[in-house]
């Protein structure tokens, strides 16, 4: 029952924030904060020893029994970590947009809450039809967030984002139906329950095609290189909260989908596909890093760093070893925090200077020293400085991937040099050089709190990530056992 | 016999079509349309005669009515066109640019 509440609370919070925002804008913000705060407490209360199969909690209610579709939810360590990340980043996103969003505040928070609810649902759903439903649920409010509160090319970005995700989502729907049909043929009854579909034996070619259907949807979200081009536009055009949610959370649904569905449902096909995926991951690391280096738009630069960082995630997922999966989960969390923080900074800079053009930002360190320090910190996190979460994550991913495939791993490791280049270029371009003459306000206490929370979390993940690993480990063990060892 | 009647219908139809495509004057376009409708009616009547059934003539009646209504509206449009564009060339009224 708690699981249902976990999804319902933000939905209700959003419904409440909308009308309240018409009366007083602060009320909408407070409603959103309260809903997410309550949800966070709820999620924390689910921490505990894992039950059979690694599940911490499950829920089941029939929905369309004749087709075997049910409201099936389940939470294991992996889901829990991502749920906590979602709520944390969601809360920080509300705070980060406190002064940025001034129009249609109620509707903004409605959309924000509903996106978060969709994401939470995706992390919890254990019925494929329900999963698809929630997958689409998180899409629409996100499109609104970009299209209504975005920057100069917001419509273009929103439509591109919508087309990419929608088209790939339909491929996944086809694959879900195909899988359901295969189950019906084999077992004689319809079912879309995750547990039932896990064991379906498929003809290899069919399995490969169905797997590719899932992969397409998740690859667009992740994003895998070649399918990534919606991301720089969406990220750079979205408002700060939108960019945070996109980078920190929405991309993670792709990784989660691969971990939870694409590989366990089609283990053999995934083994065949793994070399391709790992090479794609390595290419993504380098390609994203080179493009990030070339950008002049601050938010686009950060967006391309996401492509690069999630290349590690893809590499780690398809290496499918204990090391790489643990690293992948940590990378998801750490990337969410570091990139989210960079977007907060980019938003703060934009609010003050009204530009995101790196050619025009220069020598800001003496003007806004706190912002400079924060930018340096998160730029270092993004280049993988040891002591911060991203390093441990990338190290574990690369160690795990090395055991499986050394060559793509080596290429990905070179991405660390490229990451240094773009991180330093970003930091030095904006903050170093001859001192700017502008008078700008330094970070305000609210912004400092948001960034400070993210910074402390990154330090914790970098120096003592063990508690996180212990939450995730049972779930990853189950996944590893389900889909066999290293492919 | 019925075959020859159908051939006649086809020739009349083709003549009407050529007129429709070739003439620029809207009056002639409508006129050609009448010829084509008439040819179609002929085909129906011939078919009805071949089988000795009244259905062909019934359909001819319908065509007749349609032709009458069409001509009424069409000629009204011609009048409007003339007042608006001072021309009977339908291309003069092409504002739907591609």
């Amino acid at each position: 029952m708690k699981l249902v509440a976990l999804v319902l609370v933000p939905l209700l919070g959003g419904l409440l924030a909308w009308p309240l925002g018409r009366r007083r804008t602060e009320w909408a913000r407070i409603a959103a904060v309260l809903a997410l705060g309550v949800d966070l407490a709820l999620a924390l209360s689910l921490l505990g020893p894992a039950g059979p199969g690694g599940w911490l909690a499950t829920f089941e209610l029939p929905w369309i029994p004749s087709l075997g579709i049910g409201l099936r939810l389940g939470l294991d360590g992996l889901s829990l970590v991502l749920v906590l990340l979602t709520l944390l980043v969601g809360l920080l996103a509300v705070f980060a947009s406190w002064s940025e969003i001034r129009e249609r505040v109620g509707f903004f928070h409605f959309n924000l809450c509903w996106v978060l609810a969709g994401i939470l649902g995706v992390f919890l759903a254990l019925d494929l039809v329900l999963f698809y439903f929630l997958w689409e649920l998180m899409l629409v409010p996100m499109v609104f967030l970009i299209a209504l509160w975005g920057h100069e090319r917001k419509t273009y970005a929103a439509i591109k984002f919508f087309l990419y995700t929608q088209a790939s989502g339909l491929l996944m729907l086809l694959a879900i139906l195909g899988l359901g049909l295969a189950h019906q043929r084999a077992a004689g009854s319809w079912s879309f329950a995750y547990g039932d579909l896990l064991g379906v034996s498929l003809e290899p070619t069919l399995a490969l095609w169905l797997m590719l259907g899932f992969f397409a949807a998740f690859a667009v979200k992740l994003p895998v290189v070649v399918l990534h081009t919606w991301l720089p536009d969406a990220h750079s055009q979205a408002p700060t909260a939108g960019s945070m949610v996109l980078a920190a959370l929405l991309l993670k649904t792709g990784a989660y989908g691969l971990l939870r569905f694409a590989i366990p449902l089609f283990p053999d096909a995934s083994v065949r596909f793994a070399p391709v995926a790992m090479v794609l991951g390595a290419i993504g690391v380098i390609y994203g890093a080179v493009l990030a280096f070339a950008q002049t738009d601050l938010k686009r630069l950060v967006a391309y760093t996401s492509v690069s960082h999630l290349g590690f995630v893809l590499l780690g997922i398809y290496a499918w070893t204990s090391f790489s999966l643990t690293g992948t989960v940590l990378q998801m969390v750490a990337h969410g925090l570091s990139t989210g923080a960079l977007f907060v900074l980019a938003g703060a800079l934009y609010e003050r200077t009204h530009t995101r053009d790196l050619e025009r930002l220069r020598g800001l360190a003496p003007v806004v020293p706190r912002m400079g320090a924060a930018a340096l910190f998160f730029a270092l996190a993004s280049l993988g400085l040891p002591g911060l979460g991203n390093f441990v994550a990338e190290f574990l991913v690369l160690v795990g991937a090395w055991e499986v495939r050394p060559i793509p791993t080596t290429i990905a490791a070179l991405g660390l040099v490229a990451a240094t280049l773009y991180s330093l270029r970003f930091f030095q371009r904006a903050f170093h050089g001859p001192a700017a003459e502008a008078e700008l306000a330094d970070l305000r206490p609210r912004e400092l709190t948001v960034l400070g929370a993210m910074g402390v979390a990154l330090l914790w993940l970098g120096l003592a990530p063990q508690p996180l690993f212990e939450v995730v480990a049972p779930a990853l063990d189950v996944l590893l056992r389900t889909a066999g060892g290293t492919p | 016999m019925a075959g020859e009647a159908l051939a006649l219908a086809a020739v009349l139809f083709a003549l009407g079509l050529v007129g429709l495509l070739v003439r620029r004057n809207l009056i002639f376009v409508l006129l050609s349309l009448e010829v084509m409708l008439n040819a179609a009616g002929l085909a129906f009547v011939a078919a009805g005669a071949r089988w000795g059934q009244p259905d062909g003539q019934v359909t001819f009646l319908f065509i007749l009515a349609i032709a009458a209504a069409e001509v009424a509206v069409g000629l009204a449009l011609v009048l409007r066109l003339q007042t608006a564009f001072r021309s009977l060339d339908p291309d003069a009224a092409s504002r739907l640019g591609g």
Binding site: - | E4, I27, E34, N38, L61, A68, A69, V73, A76
Partner: protein, 166 residues
Amino acid sequence: MIALFRLTARVAVVATALAVSRRHAVHALLYLVVSLLAVAFSFFLLGAPFAAALEVIIYAGAIMVLFVFVVMMLGLGPGARPEEPRHPDRWLGPALLGAVLLGELVYVLTLGPRSVEIAAEVGPKAVGTALWGPYLLGVELVGLLLLAGLVGAYHLVRRPPGKEKT
């Protein structure tokens, strides 16, 4: 009497070809009337006297009159100058074709109907029965269509208020 039909058909084709190719609208209409009459005659030969009668009355009569009215209202198109009505160039063709049709008609009337028909006659009674039987809905629809045509035509030619003169 296949020969009779063929002759009628030739008259129809020639008249139609001339109708669509005349420069002058009134001439074209004259040829078209001939063409319609020829088709009406062929209906008669095909054993459909009711259709033939309607063809003459409605097509060659009513619709053509409508055309003529419109042509007159438009001021006779390109050749708008006053014309010599008795000039043989203008009426000779239609008259000749019409004479052929008249000859056929006289021939048929003197010979008697039985021997002329090519197909078995389907009389007005059978058509009427069919119309009010299975095609009743179609008749109603056609009625509505005609009403719509009437309203539409009226609406279209009505001068917009405020604009008194063209």
